[in-house]
């Protein structure tokens, strides 16, 4: 199954299936292709408030799909700088383009040292293959 799952290079991943990518001063966070595939059609995202302080691997938001509601954990500690408001009307963007238009949150004030606790694409791909 993991063969079909997209795991782009250059991103960092969590064991809970979130990804994070640095864009300037901000860290963009989303759900991996595997996560959205497991959840099925996503119907709602309960996004955090801008300004909320998050801890690494603390609860960031909740996504609801036709099958389940799942917690999303913040890959890094930081402060919510921006949320993807487009998801309010179109949560399916996560299913359609999880590494692009389906991003969830942009974090500021993060600590680069925390990347050491995350997986690179090779490690995440290995994690997925071990699930089989």
């Amino acid at each position: 199954m993991s063969e079909a799952m997209q795991v782009p290079e250059g991103l960092y991943y969590t064991k809970e299936h979130e990804w994070v990518r640095v864009e300037g001063d901000l860290a963009v966070v989303g759900l991996t292709h595997f996560a959205q595939d497991q959840l099925g059609d996503i119907t709602y995202v309960d996004l955090p408030e801008v300004g909320a302080a998050l801890e690494q691997m603390g609860e960031m938001c909740v996504v609801e799909s036709v099958k389940a509601a799942a917690d999303v954990y913040s890959p890094l500690g930081g402060v919510v700088a921006e949320v993807n408001a487009a998801l309010d009307d179109a949560p399916e963007l996560i299913n359609k383009d999880c590494y692009g238009k389906g991003w969830l949150v942009k974090l500021g004030e993060f600590d680069r040292a925390e990347f050491d606790n995350l997986l690179d694409s090779a490690a995440y791909r290995k994690l997925l293959s071990e699930r089989e």
Binding site: D46, S65, V66, K67, A68, A69
Partner: protein
């Protein structure tokens, strides 16, 4: 929807699949001292004995009294069609309809109930009911706490004291800051509002039967970033300004006036409606209307991922049950009344109550406490302790009202009198004459 209990054969098959001899083996993990001991039930009775025994118990009820009791629960006429329809086998089950495939009728009735509650309150979305008005008020308060992530709730002292007791017991371990205060004057409210205030809870008509304008209060709570919650009498909504018109975010209340009999402890009906922005924080079941693959209209439970059977510890509420049969009675009652009929019924209640006010205030030393406007209930100040007056009136076959001293120690002489469409002029006359005689 039909429900068929397990037959002895079903149970035997399940036990055999589990490799067990008896159902009791399933409970052996529970320490013996915590398991039920002997039930010690008396020997069985024959059918005539049971009828005799129950008739004797029923005879101890005070149902012959002419009822002017209110305080949240009212003696309204219930059209015979309500009981006849809800007693149909398709509806008369305690089991909630998870399976849309076999429950379209029940689901449609719940959807129509939700629609009726939305129309009464003017708000966007209603759930498929909660236990009763008190638990609905608790749930609404918790919606405000969850939505605002704040901990302080301001509850007006003119909200039902019974509901306020329930709110306190439900939240006792939730570390909330529950502030009870008389905030009838918006200026009094302003001094209590702060950045920690999650919500403001008001009641309309208030516990003393007075119709209120809550709009200034809800404007104030919105300025402070909190939510406005209103507990209301659904029958009064036919004539009063709606929660939506007054700017409430959440409306709840006791649905008993809509075709449900008075009974000690219920079952009653908690209704709840809210703005669309709060839809996902709303507890309980919600029925949605959709279309199937062939384009036909169909109904199903929706937004179920918020519920405890899927989200468990993250559920919106641990009260996921509803009062489907009571909600059905309410929607049948509303259907029988119709839009204009409900308005006329509400007006009749107000007219009868106004006549009772006229009669009671004609008694020397009996005074109105409030200036109105009232719905179908009002308080009068008696020259003696209202409890004494009420107990003497019981001997005359009249439940004269609710003595407010029970919940408001400074109101020992105040009597809350409710008058529904069922009270005739003659009965109101008995009340006035009887009361004058005991004072």
């Amino acid at each position: 929807m039909r429900f068929t209990p397990h037959t002895p054969d079903d149970r035997a098959a399940m036990l055999s699949a589990l490799g067990l001899q008896a159902v009791a083996e399933l409970f052996k993990e529970i320490p013996a001292n915590l398991r039920s001991q002997a039930w010690d039930l008396p020997p069985g009775m024959s059918e005539p004995e049971v009828c005799h025994y129950l008739a004797k118990l029923a005879g101890m009820n005070a149902h012959q009294l002419v009822c002017f009791l209110g305080g949240g629960f009212y003696d309204h006429h219930i059209p015979a069609a309500v009981d006849a329809l809800i007693s149909r086998g398709e509806f008369y089950t305690a089991y909630t309809p998870y399976q849309a495939e076999m429950s379209q009728g029940t689901l449609q009735s719940m959807f129509e109930y939700q629609t009726a509650i939305c129309r009464l309150t003017g708000l966007d979305a209603a759930n498929a009911s909660l236990y009763d008005g008190g638990t609905a008020l608790y749930e609404a308060s918790m919606m405000a706490v969850r939505k605002t992530k704040r901990k302080k709730l301001i509850v007006c002292t003119s909200v039902s004291p019974i509901y306020r007791i329930m709110l306190k017991s439900y939240t006792v371990n939730l570390h909330l800051d529950l502030v009870e205060a008389d905030v009838a004057d918006p200026a009094a409210l302003e001094t209590l509002l702060d950045q920690e205030t999650a919500g403001l809870v008001l009641q309309n008509p208030d516990f003393f039967g007075v119709l209120k304008d809550c709009a200034p209060h809800f404007e104030a709570i919105h300025r402070a970033g909190g939510l406005g919650i209103i507990s209301c009498n659904p029958l009064a909504l036919a004539v009063a300004r709606t929660p939506a018109e007054m700017g409430a975010d959440i409306a709840v209340g006791e649905g008993q006036p809509l075709g449900l009999p008075l009974s000690f402890g219920g079952p009653y009906l908690g209704f709840m409606a809210a703005t669309e922005a709060l839809l996902r924080t709303m507890p309980g079941r919600i029925v949605g209307r959709t279309s199937d693959a062939k384009g036909r209209v169909g109904y199903c439970l929706t937004l179920q991922t918020r519920e405890q059977h899927i989200r468990r510890e993250k559920a919106t509420s641990n009260i996921c049950s509803n009062e489907a049969l009571c909600a059905l009675a309410a929607v049948i009652f509303l259907g029988l009344m119709g839009k204009q009929g409900l308005v006329e019924l509400a007006e009749l209640n107000m007219t009868q109550a106004a006549y009772a006010r006229e009669r009671l205030t004609a008694i020397p030393r009996v005074e109105l406490v409030d200036e109105g406007p009232w719905f179908n209930e009002f308080r009068v100040r008696l020259p003696i302790d209202a409890r004494v007056a009420v107990s003497q009136m019981i001997d005359k076959g009249i439940a004269a009202g609710f003595p407010l001293g029970r919940y408001y120690p400074d109101q020992a002489n105040n009597l809350l009198v409710a008058v529904t469409e069922k009270r005739s002029k003659e009965e109101i006359g008995y009340l006035a004459e009887g009361l004058e005689a005991v004072l």
